[in-house]
């Protein structure tokens, strides 16, 4: 009796596994398609790139698009390394400070009581729902009045108070049991210590996800419209300037968009083990 049951279970799990894998492959194809396509596109020679319907393979792969991009880059008045530095500097600074500020703000909204908390939270939620296009003009005026235009600050400051990231962190902090915080408090930890040693480790996967999200959004954000000094422009803006030139430079543009994908991938690979770590639910005994 027992043996039959085990056999049955094994069978079921085999077909089940196959179906699961099949489904994941299908979904994975959908997800991977745009990235695969843009990589393929960057290796196509001119005459293949504009075939319609688009092809998912390349007949005569060529590195010409990349070498065109590199020669274009070599001819710049501002050295390429400057753009790269700008982008890396701005992304790292805004991610670090932004995530810190966001998680610090999320902690009291999740776990503390202070005067005006609920009203403030509703206000923040309301602006979260506000469509970005309309605030573009007023926020430009604010930035101009604060004298931020044409400085690094105009790129860094707006990403420091990300409501969305704060909201995500707050929701995860809500799930931390109060008893854990009370225990730390009884042991004499002050608020900063509780935040740093108890709250943050408990929301580490969410925290790391927010780090990747925030890096990605800053990295992909161009500097057009707020930076007019050539030596302060960010890499995506600079690359789109270089590669803007119609069909003649569309190959270099395809190569540039592939190269721009690399840093977010690196950020993800470096963080993924922590993002998907199983959270230890230790420290509490009921």
């Amino acid at each position: 009796m027992k043996r039959i049951r085990i056999k049955k279970q094994l069978n079921r799990s085999h077909t089940g596994n196959f179906l699961v894998l099949l489904m994941l492959v299908v979904v994975g194809c959908f997800m991977g398609l745009p990235m695969y396509y843009s990589i393929i596109q960057s290796f196509k020679p001119v005459e293949e790139r504009f075939i319609f319907p688009p092809r998912f393979y390349v007949v005569n792969p060529t590195g010409a698009n990349y070498s065109q991009l590199f020669t274009l880059v070599a001819d710049l008045t501002v050295p390429f390394s400057r753009y790269l530095f700008n982008s890396i500097f701005v992304s790292l600074v805004s991610t670090t400070i932004g995530v810190l500020i966001g998680s610090m703000a999320a902690y009291p909204f999740a776990k503390k009581k202070f005067p005006g908390k609920n009203g403030l939270w509703r206000l923040i939620m309301l602006t979260l729902l506000f469509s970005g296009g309309v605030t573009a003009l007023p926020s430009y005026i604010v930035k101009a009045k604060l004298g931020l235009i044409n400085t690094y600050w105009v790129l860094i400051l707006p990403s420091l108070a990300s409501t969305l990231h704060m909201f995500l962190l707050r929701q995860f902090m809500l799930q931390i049991p109060d008893s854990l915080l009370d225990a730390a408090k009884l042991d004499g930890a002050n608020d900063f210590r509780i935040f740093y040693n108890v709250v943050l480790p408990n929301v580490k996967p969410a925290f790391m996800t927010v780090v990747v999200l925030s890096f990605q959004s800053v990295w992909n954000n161009g500097s057009s419209g707020v930076i007019f000094r050539e030596d302060l422009k960010l890499l995506p803006t600079a690359l789109s300037q270089i590669t803007a030139g119609g069909i003649a430079r569309s190959g270099a543009s395809a190569a540039a968009s592939v190269l721009l994908m690399i840093p977010p991938i690196v950020a993800f690979v470096l963080n993924q083990s922590k993002m998907l770590q199983t959270m230890a639910h230790s420290g509490i005994k009921d």
Partner: protein, 299 residues
């Protein structure tokens, strides 16, 4: 006296909370709240560009009157967006929860599949899809993927030829290609939700599953008795996130309506944006009030 002190430990009502929130609030006021408040001011004025910058001419509720009574398009668009959203948001929720549960199982190649599912999160979707946009010369995600999957007449003709042999089934298969396009869009908007669900699944303590296994519970029972109830906080979080994300997407017909009114009709665009945001806000509040009572927490 003693009782008071105890209460204080459990629910500290001091102002240290403000210390933590303050840096965020300063940034929030200048870069979010102020522009949003200004747009509210604009929406009660007739804004024109004069010689010394913007000229304001107060018109009271004029813009809102126009929106809700004069402009039939707005209400119509709002209603159709909400109707469409209801279905799509549910599908996104279902897909992301399902995929998260699959990706939480242990199997060979799990890391690869996880990485692929996170692509929409790693890249801004529009960045990658820019390459697609170059093809059709359009800037809407929906259109480009449409042209992408529908391909040219040839490919479709070929497909129809095969399909035609199935007779009455052909219309179903035709629909199916439409669904493929839809699925593509929905999957690309489910990236973050998948992560949020995986994180949620991992907060469920392993010992609960061990106990369930020892008691002889089937996988089905384990799902409904352990996984699902303990996933309710994540469900609420994802639902609110999806609502916000969906209603702010640039493919949304109201958002594009607001964007087209931005030039020349700025005050009206501000008013529409406010009307729209308040409508979604009410929706989120209702969802939150309705579901947060059903959320089960670990304590």
């Amino acid at each position: 006296m003693k009782r008071n002190k105890r209460l204080k430990i459990i629910t500290p009502t001091d102002t240290t909370g403000w210390m933590f929130v303050l840096p965020f609030i300063i940034g929030f006021i200048f870069l979010f709240a102020k522009p949003v408040a200004q747009s509210l001011m604009y929406s009660f004025n007739d804004v024109t560009v004069g010689q010394e910058g913007l000229v304001f001419d107060p018109i009271g509720w004029g813009n809102f009157d126009k929106m809700f009574t004069g402009d039939a398009k707005f209400i119509q668009a709002l209603w159709s967006v909400v109707k469409e959203a209801a279905i799509k948001i549910l599908v996104i929720m279902f897909i992301s929860m399902f995929l998260a549960i699959l990706l939480n199982e242990k199997f060979a190649g799990r890391l690869l599949f996880r990485a692929i599912m996170f692509l929409p999160v790693i890249f801004a979707a529009d960045q990658v899809l820019q390459v697609f946009n170059d093809l059709g010369g359009r800037d809407e995600l929906k259109d480009t993927t449409n042209s992408f999957f529908m391909m040219s007449g040839e490919a479709r003709g070929f497909l129809q030829e095969i399909v035609g042999s199935f007779g009455p089934l052909s219309s179903i298969i035709e629909k199916f290609t439409g669904y493929a396009t839809q699925l593509f869009n929905l999957l690309w908007s489910a990236g973050i939700q998948i992560i949020l669900f995986i994180i949620g699944l991992q907060t469920i303590p392993a010992y609960l599953y061990e106990v369930a296994e020892m008691e002889g519970a089937t996988k089905w029972e384990t799902f409904w008795k352990i996984t699902f109830p303990l996933l309710t906080p994540s469900i609420l979080l994802c639902l609110i996130y999806t609502i916000i994300d969906y209603f702010n997407a640039s493919t949304n017909s109201i958002v594009s309506m607001i964007d087209t009114n931005m030039l020349g009709n700025f005050d009206y665009a501000c008013a529409m944006s406010w009307g729209y945001s308040v409508a979604i806000f009410i929706l989120v509040v209702i969802v939150n009030a309705f579901l947060s009572r059903k959320v089960i927490s670990m304590d």
